[in-house]
């Protein structure tokens, strides 16, 4: 393209920016992957590496306009969802609840948190991603929609359904399960 926006910054600048990004954001992205993979350390590490390696390949484009975080977050979210689906389909492990969570809870006194986290683990991968991005990461709906390749309306309906399901699973209140949701949008 002849567009001036497409002029590439020098490669050393890009590499520095990428390294700074990785040093600064890896911890948080790893934690995001950890939550999305159901607190599976190995899977989260793999997801993080996949996301960062993809970003590394595209570092010139990503750092041209600023932060690479939306792109890397998108890859983390989708790689985690893919990983969950494959795992479910292959039925290698039970995904009913995160059974190890109570043991790893160092204080052993946050039963409610534990219940919520267990409930979150039991949600469908995409629904969980919506809740995590919306309520933990504070990502705007439009950005979540872009990350998940769906409409903002779908994000809102998934969030609403997810919270209702979370209440039900965590015993928060006797809410009747909302069985149906808005129609999913075609993916691009």
């Amino acid at each position: 393209m002849a567009d001036s926006e497409d002029r590439q910054p020098p490669s050393s600048e890009v590499d520095d920016a990428f390294e700074q990004f990785v040093r600064g954001r890896s911890m948080h992205l790893f934690r995001l992957a950890l939550v999305l993979t159901g607190w599976d350390q190995a899977a989260a590490e793999d997801v993080l590496q996949i996301a960062l390696e993809r970003a590394y390949r595209r570092r010139r484009q990503l750092f041209r306009h600023g932060s690479a975080e939306p792109y890397v977050r998108k890859v983390v979210v989708n790689a985690a969802i893919d990983w969950r689906r494959v795992r479910r389909r292959r039925a290698e492990h039970s995904l009913d609840l995160a059974s190890d969570l109570a043991a790893t809870d160092r204080l052993g006194q946050v039963a409610e948190r534990d219940a919520l986290v267990r409930a979150l683990t039991a949600l469908a991968p995409k629904q969980r991603a919506v809740l995590v991005l919306r309520y933990w990461e504070d990502v705007p709906d439009a950005e979540i929609a872009a990350a998940l390749n769906c409409s903002a309306g779908t994000v809102r309906s998934q969030a609403s359904r997810g919270l209702a399901r979370l209440r039900e699973l965590s015993g928060d209140s006797p809410v009747t399960r909302s069985a149906y949701s808005a129609r999913g949008e075609n993916h691009e």
Partner: protein, 417 residues
């Protein structure tokens, strides 16, 4: 933010407190990248060998009697050897593999589109491709082989808006797209825009809920913001004409017959139109109002304004229709991400009867150009199944692909002749 949302935030934060990867991320990334380059270095020559072998094999199969190439010793002439084919169904597939778009032919030949793109669709003999950037999606047009690439819709510079669902008009002159504006953390508006590719002029055509398709080179079919009607919107003047409403007696009757006891439909959408004029068929999606949102959707196909067939399978949380050639359709339904709930059924416009379902296709489906093979997309895997009888009888030839079904890695973007 309500109490549950705050407690959820606290619970997640507490659950990951102190968690850290067991490796140095920068070192791991560089190592992984080197491994990838090594794999590619090995895969390149292997791919060349496979392509040469496949080409020689196919040449031998189609050689005139008495003319034999040496490689025929490995196969029996005239006998179908599926392993030699990259995929069944003929034509050529446009696949996305990790940002690389490649045309794949049944004999294994490939043509790679230059540059990195995250997806593409074929439209009027050209490609509309897109790539995700830190600031949203950028759209490019190009020829089918990837030459003459042109950035037609750059990504935004503001995280408060994004562009989705761009579609080229049938004459290739105009791009329609949906701009999502973040009004507040809870409010996003979807606005239909058109971009004249010759002049660069953009026009705001107002709020919609869903962009369906171009019906001709100046008219767009979209769902109204309240999801109660389908509208035809002029790309030139922006004038809107109601095309169908959810309260149309014809639709209400068809829906109530398909979903007894669900009451009248409350929402309307469309999975597109095939054909033109009087021979046009439109797939209309209808659903009733439930406690929280929508439920019991059905697809009604109208021909000349009259219902032709209605599909109403079970597990009705998500329902979509994919058009195939010669009156073939694929109906897909499921309960969100719930495993085992996702089903894809082949059908024809002649009957509401559905085939036995396949548990694949969560991320989409594409018919082969002849319609006798269907590519079902799940994550990064493509599963090929043959269109079953009686649906396949409208195609040139019914094929019989038995499990285990052939697989490909990648995401199908298009399948053309």
């Amino acid at each position: 933010m309500n109490d549950l949302q705050e407690r959820l935030r606290d619970a997640i934060a507490a659950s990951v407190q102190g968690a850290a990867p067991s490796f140095d991320p920068m070192t791991a990334v560089r190592r992984r990248h080197r491994q990838r380059l090594r794999r590619l270095a090995v895969a390149g020559p292997v791919a060349v060998i496979v392509i040469i072998a496949a080409t020689v094999f196919l040449a031998a199969r189609h050689a005139p009697p008495g003319h034999h190439l040496p490689v025929t010793t490995t196969t029996r002439p005239g006998r179908h050897d599926r392993s030699a084919l990259a995929f069944p169904g003929g034509g050529r597939l446009l696949l996305d593999n990790g940002g690389v778009l490649t045309w794949l032919y049944p004999d294994g030949q490939t043509i790679q589109i230059p540059g990195q793109f995250d997806g593409a669709r074929v439209s009027t003999g050209q490609l509309l491709a897109w790539k995700y950037t830190a600031f949203g999606t950028a759209y490019y047009t190009m020829t089918l082989d990837g030459s003459r690439q042109r950035l037609v819709l750059p990504a935004g510079h503001d995280k408060k808006l994004s562009v989705i669902g761009a579609l080229l008009s049938p004459d290739g002159s105009t791009l329609a797209y949906v701009r999502q504006d973040l009004v507040s953390p809870a409010v996003v508006t979807d606005t239909l825009w058109v971009l004249n590719l010759a002049t660069g002029h953009r026009a705001d055509l107002g709020v919609i809920s869903n962009l369906v398709t171009w019906t001709d080179s100046t008219t767009i079919l979209a769902a109204a913001p309240d999801i109660k009607s389908l509208q035809l919107i002029s790309a030139v003047t922006g004038r809107r004409t109601t095309y169908l409403t959810v309260s149309d007696p014809v639709l209400v009757q068809a829906y109530e017959r398909a979903r007894p006891g669900a009451g009248p439909p409350a929402y309307i959408g469309s999975d597109g139109i095939v054909g033109r004029g009087r021979s046009a068929h439109i797939a209309v999606w209808l659903a009733a109002a439930g406690n929280s949102s929508v439920y019991r959707p059905a697809e009604v196909v109208l021909a000349g304004g009259a219902p032709l067939v209605t599909y109403a399978p079970r597990t009705p949380e998500v329902l979509s229709l994919t058009w195939g050639p010669d009156g073939l359709v694929l109906i897909q339904t499921g309960a969100g991400d719930v495993p085992g709930s996702w089903n894809a059924y082949a059908a024809t416009l002649q009957s509401p009867r559905l085939s036995r379902p396949w548990p694949f296709g969560m991320a989409g489906a594409t018919f082969s150009p002849a319609g006798n093979v269907i590519a079902l997309q799940d994550d990064e895997t493509v599963t090929f199944v043959s269109t079953p009888r009686p649906a396949c009888e409208s195609t040139v030839k019914c094929l019989h692909i038995q499990p285990p079904y052939p697989l490909l890695t990648g995401t199908v973007q298009a399948w053309i002749r």
